[in-house]
């Protein structure tokens, strides 16, 4: 690195989209430098707590609350953050962010090789034209410059590579994909699917579409899922899609990849004469030294907000408000699904049924509101549910009175069936929801912390109220006794679907990126993580980020070959 070599491409970030960009670009013959801000985690050997039992850990998997208060005050609120997985999340003390006014925002992050591909929920859903047309239809945000047909072949390509288990349902609002065999519904879920299908023909309960293999991919060295459902610890079987299991080996196999870890990109550098990006400036997080790397194209895949942060930090004399920001919208219109537990029910009548194994996905009830008919109750877009049914475990005993033998015996057997539905509602793109650089607070590398201003609005609240009522109706129809439900959204960020800030659009005056995920202002700069999103839909976005990344890589390479950039 000392000689500042010139690469064909620099990819900033090694998570879900960074790893894929590295794969696509190296396989196209480009010499690629991938820069990861966090430490190396080797596939397999780096998953140090993967196989431990609770009794092997000092705090039995619950974790050291005193340590978490000090170093993981935000991350600890994430349900995937445990003593088993804590090394896969950032230290909040060393990586601060700030919020404005009354903003509550849980920014859950993973700074290590693989990023959040190690800890993600693996839910993979295509977006439909109900989603890509949403901004045009109701006037919120700016119109997407693409539609489903533009992405469909790229969804195919990504799904076939990463492996997505799912059931084809023929729903226009949730297009089917190239699926591996689905994981099966349990008895309560199957019953609920049948009841909902009978009573609401426009609704469907189906198995979650997840990037866990039901059929091995020996060509990638990946085994089928072992039904442990401890994915966030890391999976030595390679049974779920992660950078480590999938894209990194593919990129390394080409011989075209240079990987640098423990290096945070401070800024994209720009040639003032041509306006082109020349490369990046980065900081070695171990010794604080600064270095440069040069490339013909730059892909930002640092994670939605951090990619925006890189651009804001890349301000220069000609671009005092950030690179690729002639529109002034950089950092604005950030989103995160409004999420809450819409309903929990006791499901009697299935006491003679059980299951074996831990299925690493739940069920989903796709959007049914505001499709061809505007039938929302105070909201113009959609909500969907994710959840599942299970038999209660010993932890239920914490809420129950009793001591002694009978009490112990009551916890020895599986408890009553319960079913949970969590609602995810569209997050509306609003200019007031935005990221800026904090003027005073800096992180451990000395970089300005991001400052987040975010609030859900009337649309999201109305959608969740509707979702709560409909969850209760469906659970009740299935014979359940609803014991609770909420319609207040959790703090922003809680869906871990933060996106936007460098939105795609037709018009350079109102958007940062064009339809190729390419900066309007900087032709050899691409942003292909969640920052590019112009709307949020109400289903998980990662698969769409990946499809957009694969598409952007193909076009970037084509443009390079044609000398267009």
């Amino acid at each position: 690195m000392a000689q500042n070599p010139v690469f064909d491409a620099i990819v900033v970030g090694s998570g879900i989209t960074g790893g894929l960009a590295a794969k696509e670009l190296t396989e196209a013959g480009l010499k690629v430098l991938m820069i990861e801000r966090g430490p190396m985690i080797e596939h397999g050997s780096g998953y140090t707590r993967e196989t431990l039992a609770p009794w092997d850990l000092e705090f039995r998997g619950v974790g050291d609350a005193e340590l978490y208060d000090k170093d993981y005050a935000v991350q600890r609120k994430n349900r995937h953050f445990t003593e088993f997985t804590q090394d896969h999340f950032v230290n909040d003390r060393e990586n601060p962010y700030t919020t404005e006014g009354s903003t509550e925002f849980n920014w859950w992050r993973s700074y290590q090789l693989g990023g959040r591909s190690l800890t993600w929920g693996r839910q993979c859903y295509r977006w439909s034209d109900y989603d890509f047309d949403a901004n045009r239809r109701d006037g919120h945000g700016t119109d997407w410059p693409i539609r489903y047909a533009d992405l469909a072949p790229w969804y195919d390509k990504v799904e076939e590579f990463i492996g997505v288990a799912g059931m084809a349902e023929g729903l226009p609002q949730l297009p089917d994909g190239r699926f591996q065999p689905p994981m099966a519904l349990n008895a309560v879920e199957q019953h609920t699917r049948e009841v909902i299908g009978r009573q609401w023909p426009d609704r469907r309960l189906t198995i979650g579409r997840n990037a866990n293999l039901t059929e091995a991919k020996p060509d990638q060295g990946r085994a089928a899922c072992q039904y442990r459902s401890i994915c966030a610890r890391g999976c030595s079987y390679g049974a779920y899609f992660s950078t480590q299991s999938s894209t990194l080996p593919a990129a390394q196999k080409t011989g075209n990849l240079t990987l640098v870890t423990d290096a945070v990109v401070e800024a994209v550098e720009q040639d003032p004469a041509t306006g082109r990006a020349t490369g990046v400036r980065f900081i070695n997080t171990k010794d604080g030294t600064r270095q440069r790397a040069h490339a013909r194209i730059v892909f930002l895949n640092a994670g939605s907000f951090n990619s925006v942060g890189v651009l804001l930090r890349s301000a220069n004399e000609a671009n005092p408000h950030g690179l690729a920001n002639s529109s002034g919208v950089l950092g604005t219109h950030i989103m995160d699904h409004a999420q809450t537990v819409a309903g929990i029910a006791i499901m009697p009548g299935f006491e003679k049924h059980s299951y074996f194994g831990n299925r690493p996905t739940g069920v989903v009830i796709p959007r049914f509101r505001n499709l061809d008919t505007i039938d929302g109750k105070g909201h113009t877009r959609g909500f969907s549910y994710q959840g599942g049914a299970f038999r209660a475990a010993w932890t239920a005993g914490k809420r129950n009175p009793g001591v002694g033998k009978d009490y112990k015996d009551s916890l020895r057997e599986p408890g009553m069936w319960r079913m949970v539905l969590v609602a995810f509602a569209d997050s509306m793109p609003r200019a007031s929801n935005r990221i800026t650089l904090d003027p005073t607070i800096r992180d451990s590398a000395g970089l300005p912390a991001l400052r987040i201003n975010f609030a859900h609005g009337a649309e999201e609240h109305a959608a969740l109220a509707d979702a709560k009522a409909e969850a209760a109706a469906m659970l009740t129809a299935a014979g359940g006794h609803v014991i609770m439900g909420m319609d207040t959204p959790n703090p922003g960020g809680s869906a871990i679907h933060e996106m936007g800030g460098a939105r795609m659009g037709h018009d350079p005056r109102t958007s940062v990126l064009n339809k190729w995920s390419q900066a309007h202002d900087v032709p050899n700069l691409f942003v292909t993580d969640g920052a590019q999103m112009s709307s949020s839909a109400c289903q998980n976005p990662s698969l769409t980020y990946m499809a957009l990344t694969a598409r952007a890589c193909f076009n970037a390479v084509s443009m390079l070959k044609e000398g267009a950039i």
Binding site: R60, A65, A187, Y227, R359, W394, K398, P401, R418
Partner: protein, 209 residues
């Protein structure tokens, strides 16, 4: 200042001795207040109470497998919010007398006081039936319909930690219940045979129940 320093050293020395006796790494236990010192008697009271909650059946009980020592460690580190300040002015005297300087509760001091009060002043020397009744009484009171304005009994947190200690132990997790790290398959719908043991490794159920 000298006296304070001496007291602090004594506390730390006591902590180290205690930690050595019960097998907890000394560095893992934080002692910031004299109320953090766990006396031998408090430890014995907690052990007995844990055993009353989860007694020996075909498998050992919670006290036998050392659940009380995990609870002590958990309290020292504030698991389940046990180092959070208690309700302040609304706190009844039965709880406020057990508050630490930081506002949190001295759970073990409270437990010792409550169980002694329920056994004519000496829980450990009371007959087993009376001890059992005393534990059952505080459990019943803790889970009674308390109303929104009443402060939650510390017993709920203690009992929760006893359960965590037991069912995340090897005995509780793999002998009383079943544990399988690598199921290897997903059987979505199988008959349930009454008497079958639950899975401590059903992570979803453990998290959401």
């Amino acid at each position: 200042m000298a006296e304070t320093g001496l007291a602090r050293r004594e506390i730390l020395g006591g902590a180290a001795l205690f930690a050595m006796v019960v097998g907890i790494p000394t560095a893992a236990v934080r002692w910031t207040d004299t109320a953090d010192i766990v006396t031998d008697r408090q430890r014995a009271v907690l052990r007995d109470a844990a055993q009353r909650v989860i007694p020996r059946t075909t498998t050992p009980g919670a006290g036998e497998i050392g659940a009380h020592d995990f609870v002590i460690l958990a309290l020292a580190h504030g698991l389940d919010g046990t180092r959070a300040p208690a309700a302040g002015a609304a706190l009844p005297v039965t709880l406020s007398r057990h508050q630490r300087r930081d506002g949190s509760l001295d759970y073990l001091g409270w437990l010792e006081w409550q169980l002694d009060a329920g056994t004519q002043g000496d829980y450990l020397n009371a007959p087993p039936a009376r001890r059992e009744a005393a534990v059952a009484a505080i459990d019943k009171a803790a889970f009674a319909d308390a109303g929104p304005d009443l402060v939650e009994s510390p017993w709920r947190k203690l009992k929760g930690l006893i359960l965590t200690a037991y069912y995340t132990s090897e005995v509780g997790g793999s002998r009383e219940l079943q544990y399988e790290l690598v199921p290897g398959r997903w059987d979505a719908d199988i008959p349930y045979t009454p008497g079958s043991r639950a899975w401590s490794s059903d992570w979803t159920a453990v998290e959401f129940s």
